[in-house]
Structure formats: C-alpha cells, structure tokens
Symmetry: C2
Subunit: 257 residues, 2 copies
C-alpha cells in the first residue's frame, strides 16, 4: 500500500489500529493542532526544543490539506485516532475531526521515532519492544524543556536497550536524521536523567535490559503532549500515541548528510 492508499483506508474507517510498521519507508508524524492564538508560542516551543519537537511541517490557519505532508491530505480524518484536550483534560477520542474543525486551527507535524526504528532494523539492530510486539518504553525525565509562552514541562524520552556496539551504530544512524529526533540524548545510568525506576515507564511498556546491554534514550514526541496538557489551553487536538499520521515523505529524504 502507498501512503496515500493507507490514508484513504484510515479515512474510510478501514484501519483503526496503531500505525507501527505501516508504509515503513515513509515518515510517520506526531500531530498537534492548536488555535491560531497559541500557534506562534507553540512554534517557538518547537524551535527551542528541536530534539523532542522536530517539525516536518506547519499548516496555515484552518488548513487540513497540508501538501508538504502528502497528496490529497486530510488532517481531519487521516489519523486512526485523535485526542481532544479541553482545559488540559482529555475530553474525547474521536476517529475524525469534522465536528470540531475550525478555521483558526493550525496543524503541526512532528517527526516520529518509527522512522528511525525502521532504519535501525534495516541496519540489523534488533529492537526488543518490536520483537515483543510492545509499545516502546517512555519516561518523564528531570530535564526541563526550554519554555515558550504557556509551554514548558519536562523532556520525555523513549528507551531502547542495546549492546554497546549497536548503541554506537545507532548513534551514527540517528545522527543523520535531526528531523526524527536525531541522536540519543543519554545512554547508561537512568538515574542521571531523573528516571528512578527503569522497570516503571511513564508511558508504553517496560522491556528487560540484559546484563550486556545499555539503555539508550532518545527525545520523544510525547514531550509536546506533556507541555500541551500542562498549558491547560481551552482546545488542543493531537493524535493518540501510536496512532500516527503516515506521510508521503520518504524517510531517506530526511537524511541530513
């Protein structure tokens, strides 16, 4: 299936599952949709926190067909599941946004680790959570995000256990892709970034770390969702974690070198 065919399947209600592994050669995106009144501050938040919030595209106010993300795009219906937050609280989880769409809504598409996971697996690096068909383990760190307007909060990281040799190779591979979180932000001792118990992720599923492995931590696209909840805005719409927007952007085209 092409990304366009996949989006049509989503739009028609034929696909309502997590998108991991779908159209693996193409970038998937985290989605944040905000009223124009808060869009400039959120854009600045992304600029100041580029490892957690690398922007693939930003729409114009009211625009749901953002061509930079793909042909015949409809951001109101092309994601298998949305979270609607009102005053910082999760209010509903619809499959489409036609009822709530407004002419002042601005869409932000943020790079997603599904893209670099594909490249790691292509390089022969096994990913335990993929093998075990679990969601990746994610943790809130003690690292403050750089603030912008109402947006702040702590950096959230995803963790993948690896042997040192694979960790070194993974750093090389992901360094080429600043648009999909880039190089890891930490590896080794979790306590050094404020993770008290590696067996208790704040999001996703725990995986075991073998004696000959290091935990390797990447900045995570859940970070902006934390910042958004803390900002307690009247209305914010996001994708549901794991239910991403599949774009027409080839992952390979995002290589910085």
């Amino acid at each position: 299936m092409t990304p366009l065919e996949f989006r049509h399947a989503v739009r028609n209600g034929q696909f309502r599952l997590p998108t991991a592994g779908q159209c693996g050669a193409y970038a998937q995106a985290n989605l944040v949709i905000l009223p124009q009144a808060h869009a400039d501050a959120f854009l600045l938040f992304c600029q100041r926190n580029p490892k957690a919030c690398p922007l693939l595209a930003v729409g114009e106010p009211g625009q749901w067909n953002v061509a930079a993300l793909g042909a015949d795009m409809d951001l109101r219906a092309d994601v298998p599941g949305y979270n609607i937050y009102r005053d910082g609280q999760l209010a509903s989880q619809p499959h489409a946004l036609h009822d709530v769409w407004r002419d002042d809504l601005v869409a932000f598409a943020i790079g997603c680790s599904f893209s670099f996971e594909q490249m790691l697996m292509d390089a022969g690096i096994a990913l335990r959570h993929v093998e075990q068909r679990r969601n990746v383990a994610m943790y809130r760190t003690h690292i403050d995000n750089q603030k912008a307007g109402p947006f702040g909060g702590k950096l959230v990281v995803s963790m993948r256990p690896m042997k040192a040799r694979d960790a070194i190779r993974a750093i090389q591979i992901t360094s080429r892709y600043p648009a999909i979180h880039g190089a890891p932000v930490h590896l080794g001792d979790p306590a050094l970034i404020g993770i008290a118990d590696i067996a208790q992720p704040d999001y996703g599923d725990a995986v075991a770390i073998a004696a000959d492995e290091l935990p390797v931590f990447w900045a995570c696209g859940v970070t902006p969702q934390e910042a958004i909840r803390e900002a307690r805005l009247p209305l914010v719409i996001t994708h549901q974690p794991g239910y991403m927007l599949v774009t027409d952007i080839p992952n390979a085209s995002l290589a910085a070198f």
Copy 2:
C-alpha cells in the same frame, strides 16, 4: 611552528619529547617499518583490522621520503624516538635510523588518536588524561584481531571517561574520521571486552572514572605493535609510543563527510 619546521627540529635533535599537542591541526602518525619480505602480510593485517590500523600512507621499499606524509620527509630521523625490535624483543631505542636503514625496509604510517583528541577538545569535550598531563590509558582486550600471515594478537583500546552527552557527541565526531580510528568500539562495562580491572591499564596511565561517566573505548594504534612483537620477526622498527611522526596532513582533510 609548521609541521616541516617541527620535523626539522626533531631531525636536528632539538626536540626529543612526546609529541602530544604539537602542530595540533595536523595528523600525527604511528610508524611501523618492516622488511619487504613481511610487508605484504602486514598490509593485509592493516586492511583486515582497519579500526586499529587505519593506513595514512605506505612507502615503497627503501623509501624514507614518503611525500604523501609531508614535504622533505625523512622517516629515518623525523620521529623523536624509535623502538627497534629484533626477534620480537626490544633491542634499542635510538633517535635516528641511519645505521640500520636498508633498501628493503617498507614504512607504514597509521592514524593516531592525537588527531581526534584535538577535535574533541575543539568541540568542548574535556579529556581527563590531557588535563592531568598523563598518557592515555590503554588496555589489551579479549577481542582477537583478524589474522594475516604472522600477524594476529588481541585488539588494544584506549579509554577516555566521559559523561553520556559527551560520549554521544564524541561518537558523532570520531565517526567522521575512519582514518584516525573512527568511532569507538565499545562503551560502558569494561568486562564485556575482557578488561578485568579498569584501574590497571596495560599501557599508559590510569585515570579516575566519575560516577556520572562512562568509559569510552577506541581501537588503538598500539595494536600493531602487539601483533608485531608476537610475530617475532628478525627486524621491526616502530616509533616509541607517544613519540609520533608529525605529518603535513591537515586533520580536517581526513573527514569522511
């Protein structure tokens, strides 16, 4: 001082110290000089162990003015100290090779970590052994080199303690320089590569590793000296560890990308 001026100072007996920090923008080299009868096997050993033995240049038999390494080069006198091995035993440590030079001797110049240390420091990464004016700590691992002819032995690594963030940056920086050992071969638990006691290096000086640091291990140019000693050839000449050949090759020109 230019590299040529520095080499002239060495040649004239005005400089007989370790070369760390001299002509920092230019590549320094490990030197191995062998009779032609063993040169092909040693070339193959370098090809099969490129992380420990990245070749900057190989001379013709008898050639001591290898232009690829610098102008007015004299490999018989431009290194501040030589080791002469006979039958695998250190036989003498002269300051020049005029007495022992032969028309069948072939010189190999191998990249040196002094080059990437300069780049790490330029990037703001502090190196403890440099701060403490010690030699870098080096360890024999349990990792077998790929054999070629009489050459084999174990991989020797150098170790630098770093915070995780600096280790990630150091992997990015050194990955650009395959000609000077490239990316690390290991980081974290020393036991996983056969190092029983990190406080007891096999060469060089121990440095402390802080609680918030990881030991980061690079393949080391001492590896071929181990292989050469084990091969017990009638005659091999090397530089003395730390007393390197200063070349005219700008470090920056060695970047692979």
